[in-house]
Symmetry: C2
């Protein structure tokens, strides 16, 4: 029953606290040859080159020239390592919107920045999310998103919902395009030929009388033309921002 320094939170993992700069190293004992940032960097390097599936504790240890169990002195579990990987994988947030930008331009820039990160690091999409963001960079991204809405008169809860809506869309869109890319690589097909092949497969399977709407869409050949994936992204984002704009307009004055 000793008094704890801080009982306001539900026992944050040790590595998270050290990511926030809390927690000083005790002066005793041998100098650690490994550090948490070095481990996380090595893990990110493995994920960048060989994908998230290649990230095992032994593989990361090998990358560092250390033994597998040495890592467990610095991270409590593999899940904790994944959490830290996501944090550094996202990198620093894109910064506040340009002075002349309104909320819509700012949020567009913010969304595109996240999309760019997810396109460069598709393994981020495969990390199972276990909870709301608590790492420094993650909250930095959230902060920059919220700031875009500063000039609107949305309620605080609405602002949060709007940000969740946009980031959810970005993640979803990035997941879909990444799946096409990975699927085409796995099947040995050119990326542009993936969706047409999928369309042909579905057309072969379905009965046009039971799936009339789907059949019509397939027959129209939408999947055959490989349009700019950027257009697809922009289309969905603009629909969402249109919906938000209607709300912002209603909350004006």
């Amino acid at each position: 029953m000793t008094a704890k320094k801080d009982d306001s939170g539900p026992a944050l993992p040790a590595a998270i606290e050290s990511a926030w700069g809390l927690r000083e190293r005790p002066p005793k004992g041998p100098r650690p040859g490994l550090t948490v940032p070095a481990i996380v960097d090595a893990a990110v390097r493995v994920a960048d080159t060989d994908g998230l599936a290649a990230v095992s504790m032994s593989r990361v240890a090998k990358e560092l020239g250390a033994a597998t169990m040495a890592l467990y002195r610095h991270v409590g579990s593999k899940d904790e390592l994944l959490l830290l990987m996501v944090d550094t994988g996202y990198g620093p947030p894109p910064g506040p919107a340009a002075p002349g930008d309104d909320w819509r331009a700012g949020l567009t820039r913010w969304a595109r920045a996240e999309r760019d990160v997810l396109r460069a690091r598709t393994w981020l999409l495969h990390v199972p999310i276990t909870g709301p963001p608590i790492t420094p960079q993650q909250l930095g991204w959230l902060e920059d998103g919220l700031r875009c809405l500063d000039d609107t008169r949305l309620a605080d809860g609405e602002k949060m919902s709007v940000i969740l809506l946009v980031t959810g869309y970005v993640r979803n869109e990035a997941t879909l395009t990444a799946q096409i890319a990975e699927g085409s690589r796995a099947a040995g097909v050119e990326p542009g030929e993936m969706m047409p092949a999928y369309g042909r497969t579905v057309a072969r399977l379905i009965d046009p009388t039971r799936f009339p709407a789907l059949h019509r869409v397939l027959a129209s050949g939408v999947l055959n033309q490989d349009d700019d994936p950027d257009d697809e992204f922009t289309f969905g984002l603009d629909r969402i921002l249109d919906g938000i704009e209607a709300l912002v307009y209603r909350r004006r004055s």
Copy 2:
């Protein structure tokens, strides 16, 4: 170089073809004691009771009173089993919209139906999606969604994008609420106390001068009041439908 029956598709997995009713059993050999539907049902049962993580080949085999390797006669891999689990896990699609419903009411019903499924079977959200839908029920859901847009004058590609947008939102929202529920259960906290605890943790970590917008939102206490999760879902869905409505309106006539 023998001529194949069907070379228009890129080699569909065997279990998928049998799910579509193609592929008849050869009359030779011993009667199979196991069937694909029985295996999938057993796997779904395990996931329903003990979560997706408990679904291992040996566990499913035990559920059936069979040996682990017996399953591999019927499903090609665990990933294939997961694909089939998703198909039966979603269940039959909600059916076409009621006659008097416009596209918005229909899509709302459709989205709520998916949300209800994902709320009852949260393990569906943990299955890593590996590609576009190809199983019968999955395409049935897609069909019912597309039919809601029949009366609009959207282009075929736009209809598809709209459906992707809505289903992506539903999945995302369901993932977030499921995370809160699972997190609270793991931490031994009451569900209503989860977000306030999170808010307190973040408030303790961040520097108000570096995270002003976030600090303001936290200080407003949005996370403390536990509002109906249905309201949160409806808020986001209405924003998206507002955005779609603007497009439908523009494409009228």
